[in-house]
Amino acid sequence: MAEFELLVKSNMKRAYYAALGIMGSHDTAMELSQEAFIRAYRSFKNFDKTKKFFTWYYKILRNLCLNFIRDNRKNVSADYLEKAQYTSDETNPEKTYDKNEACEKLENALAQMDFDDREIIILKEFENYSYKEISETLDIPIGTVMSRLFYARKKLAKKLEGMLV
């Protein structure tokens, strides 16, 4: 159990943020990321310790997220993004409003995207995974990662028309 505890503690933030990006709700991200750790513990004997734990864990988490979306017949929630940096604009209510509106628009645009497109954008742009890490996590070639990212961004750009200056 001590070994598993270490694995949970060193991967819990990545797990939570990945689930948050995909599901869009703090409570659901917490519930699903923890449930995935519980399932990982139950099947821990099947885990090949020569491989990365998170890559194996992520497959469980991904299936749980997909099942949750299917069973609850709803897409991701909103209100999970915030601006990356606080600037002097914060004192200007008009600018703050614009930025909040931008967060909302982006959240809605991401929520309308397919699971696979949203997932790859979250991993690359919000979680800052390298192409190699995404390739290992999703078990797809690096070339596929790049083309999926390209087309996902293209679809997002279409949804964000007017917001891209």
Binding site: M1, E5, V8, K9, M12, K13, Y16, Y17, L20, G21, H26, M30, Q34, E35, F37, I38, Y41, R42, N63, L66, N67, R70, D79, Y80, L81, E82, K83, A84, A102, C103, L106, I121, I122, E125, F126, Y131, G143, M146, S147, L149, F150, R153, K154, L156, A157, L160, M163, L164, V165
Partner: protein
């Protein structure tokens, strides 16, 4: 957009392009207007995404995270123990009830036969469902695929 162009564009946007790739990208950018507009669109989208980040939960959340996972694992084990104990007790009581029933001469033979057939039917049904579930779990190649 062909694969090579996407590769060059991604490497450039990711700031991980080698000097040769950078050169090839810049040549392509100046020679191909379609490629240039694709690049502009991707760059703007990336900028919008870069300006946002996922919301951080409160710091205390992380202190309780492992405890929550541990408690839930422990409760799962407790439920398995409870279910197993209940099953053993229930089986023992069922055997006692069956013994009493068959030793009791006041119960008509027809009732005894009826109860035997009923129990047999229930056991067969349970066996059939369990076997089907196990078979599906063992041999379904598509069990991991979301339907």
């Amino acid at each position: 957009m062909n694969e090579r162009n996407i590769y060059l564009l991604e490497r450039y946007l990711d700031e991980s392009a080698s000097p040769e790739e950078k050169n090839e990208f810049e040549n392509l950018l100046s020679a191909n207007s379609e490629f240039r507009s694709e690049y502009e669109e991707q760059k703007r989208t990336k900028e919008v995404l870069r300006a946002m980040k996922l919301k951080n939960p409160s710091v205390e959340i992380w202190d309780g995270y492992w405890i929550n996972v541990y408690n839930r694992v422990e409760r799962g084990i407790a439920w398995i123990a409870i279910s197993l104990g209940f099953f053993v007790c229930f089986a023992y009581l069922a055997i006692l009830a069956a013994e009493n029933l068959f030793e009791n001469n006041e119960v008509p033979l027809l009732v005894k036969a009826g109860i035997t057939i009923l129990v047999f039917g229930i056991m067969l049904l349970v066996y059939s469902v369990v076997r089907e579930k196990l078979f599906t779990y063992k041999y379904d190649k598509y069990k991991e695929i979301q339907r």
